[in-house]
């Protein structure tokens, strides 16, 4: 694991590059996109494990913090979806350079899946995007976060009413809320290119909606069923292990990526 800061010196992004530990080294590097601010900590251990498992199959992996999240510059006021997409594009280029790979595949979890779906539009060298329990509808996602916030407040003995600009432990100004609510991976303008695969729980409505939206545009979305998939968390401080989901993601990447 190699911790690095990259990107612009004014807004450096923090990431951890995990070089391939197995030979032969793959031509594809894997960019891992964390969920949003509120679910980030919960996914950290799972992402470390996923990066290690990919490295053991010959892939170089980069996981990084969006601006305003983890160790990257900025505060959560700056973490809009558009900003995350910009950061993902910077990170993909960094992975190509630092990991010395030709192509990049993306694995994005929850909001990271939506970010990955948008980022791949701008990145010609990305040919594969795995959406891990994706956030498909931004409005539903915000409602889930609001529910999580109130459950935490109930549990921690805080008043259930909260400040408008705070949600699930972090600042949540109105422009960040609006940017999340605009996410709609099923809309006509949403990117659903070839190479998109969905990993979701059995009976996932998101998975079905994406499949249908893609077929309307003449694409086919491959879907996979996983069980411990990192769906909406009951509490943000409950760490996710997701061993089965990780095994499925790695096995599929091993199968399809050069």
């Amino acid at each position: 694991m190699q911790p690095v800061f990259f990107g612009s010196s004014a807004q450096p992004l923090y990431g951890v590059l995990t070089p391939a530990t197995a030979r032969p080294r793959r031509k594809t590097g894997v960019l891992l996109l964390y969920p949003g601010v509120q679910e980030y900590s919960r996914a950290h251990w799972a992402f470390r494990t996923l990066a290690g498992a990919l490295a053991a199959r010959g892939f170089c992996a980069l996981r990084f913090d969006y601006r305003g999240v983890g160790d990257s510059a900025g505060d959560p006021d700056s973490t809009t979806v558009d900003a995350c997409v910009d950061d993902a594009c910077v990170a993909a280029s960094e992975l190509r350079d630092a990991g010395a790979v030709d192509q990049v595949a993306i694995i994005g979890m929850r909001l990271g899946a939506a970010v990955g779906a948008h980022a791949c539009e701008r990145l010609p060298f990305v040919d594969r995007v795995f959406l891990w329990n994706p956030v498909v509808d931004g409005r539903a996602y915000v409602r889930e976060l609001e529910h999580m916030d109130r459950a935490m407040r109930l549990r921690l003995l805080h008043p259930l009413e909260h400040r408008e600009d705070e949600l699930a432990g972090f600042r949540f100004p109105s422009h960040v809320r609006r940017s999340l609510e605009r996410v709609d991976l099923c809309s006509g303008s949403a990117p659903l290119a070839r190479g998109v695969e969905v990993f979701a729980e059995p009976g996932s409505s998101e998975s079905a909606a994406l499949r249908e939206a893609a077929s309307r545009r003449g694409h086919q979305v491959v879907t996979h069923t996983i069980h411990d998939s990192g769906g909406p968390p009951p509490f943000p401080d409950a760490s996710l292990l997701a061993q089965e989901a990780i095994a499925s993601l790695v096995a599929r990447m091993d199968e399809v990526a050069p």
């Binding site: 694991m1 911790p3 923090y14 983890g70 003995l157 972090f170 009951p234 760490s239």
Partner: protein
């Protein structure tokens, strides 16, 4: 502020972020603050607490290193068979040695949060390089004073609401009378928070606190009132067997904050008071004179009857708080 990703210890096993203030604002003689992961929460800390603290410290000219212990967060595992606590102590020791050898730092302040307190306490007791230690949700013992106040919790509406949510049987969750509780109650059936820790014996703690004070090691303990074993300001004195706090020790009790500082305002408060406490120790350590503006305010307070030492500490703390908030004084 300059942040650098660093890897240190044998095999570059440990990973972290060194956060230095801009050279022109660096507080000469200030110690370097060390923070590390809390359980499986990596070095950014619960709700990014350690990142906020590091950046607040850099604003007042203090450097910090936040890192992960072996095998956690972004750090690789050790290959030896050392026990967990000893491993943590060795890792923190290696962080100090790295900063000494490669960055010329000589003095340190450790900030332990929850389970991180175990390593912070163990090292602060025996390592003379540690000039200050901050325990956030550190050791606490229930005392007669605690039990005397215990029944007050039955007056809390929030506790009754939570109890009700926990007890709603699944068949009753459809009842509209229960309002939002019926939806929230479902979450309690999935998992629950467990913060169970082992404490050193009370006698050992008393001896350790005494030894640190005798050596001049400053100690700040911050306790939260939410769901904790600490429910009043003077509880520390009771279990530490002290009649009054030594000059080296400061206790802060935040009755409405919770263990992981979920609310932004609670987090900001702890960041602010911790940063102010760190900086208060720095000028004394280097024997530096107070800035002239502060001297005037101290003089004025003394003229109105405030003891000089208290006036100086109060003015300095107010100055730091203003600086953290970016106010122009």
């Amino acid at each position: 502020m300059i942040e650098r990703a660093v890897a240190f210890a044998p095999g570059s096993r440990l990973a972290g972020v060194l956060c230095d203030p801009d050279p022109e604002t660096a507080l000469a003689g200030a110690p370097t603050v060390l923070t590390w992961n809390v359980g499986v929460n990596h070095h950014a800390g619960p709700y990014r607490f350690f990142v906020d603290l590091a950046r607040a410290l850099s604003k007042i000219g203090v450097s910090s290193l936040r890192f992960d212990l072996s095998g956690l967060g972004d750090s690789a595992a050790r290959t030896d068979a050392t026990l967990e606590l000893e491993r943590a102590r060795q890792d923190v020791g290696e962080a100090m040695t790295f900063l000494e050898r490669h960055h010329g730092r000589r003095r340190f302040v450790l900030v332990g949060f929850c389970s991180g307190v175990d390593a912070a306490h163990g090292i602060a007791v025996r390592d003379a390089r540690v000039e200050g230690v901050c325990f956030i949700e550190g050791y606490a013992f229930r005392t007669p004073g605690f039990f005397a106040r215990y029944p007050l919790r039955y007056l809390s509406g929030a506790r009754w609401r939570r109890l009700l949510a926990r007890r709603i049987p699944s068949f009753a969750r459809g009842l509209p009378l229960l309002g939002e509780l019926r939806r929230l109650s479902g979450d309690f059936s999935k998992e629950d928070m467990v913060f169970v820790r082992e404490h050193p014996p009370r006698e050992t703690l008393r001896r350790d606190y005494g030894a640190m004070s005798a050596r001049g090691t400053r100690q700040l303990s911050v306790y939260m009132g939410g769901d904790s074993h600490y429910n009043h300001e003077s509880q520390f004195l009771e279990f530490a067997g002290m009649s009054s706090l030594p000059a080296t020790t400061k206790i802060v009790y935040l009755p409405h904050a919770d263990h992981t500082l979920f609310r932004v305002a609670d987090r900001e408060r702890v960041v602010e008071l911790t940063a102010a406490w760190v900086a208060q120790g720095a000028p004394r350590a280097r024997g530096e004179d107070s800035p002239p503006k502060r001297d005037a305010r101290v003089h004025e307070a003394v003229r109105h009857g405030e003891p000089p030492a208290e006036a100086r500490a109060r003015c300095q703390a107010a100055e730091l708080r203003a600086k953290l908030r970016g106010e122009d004084r």
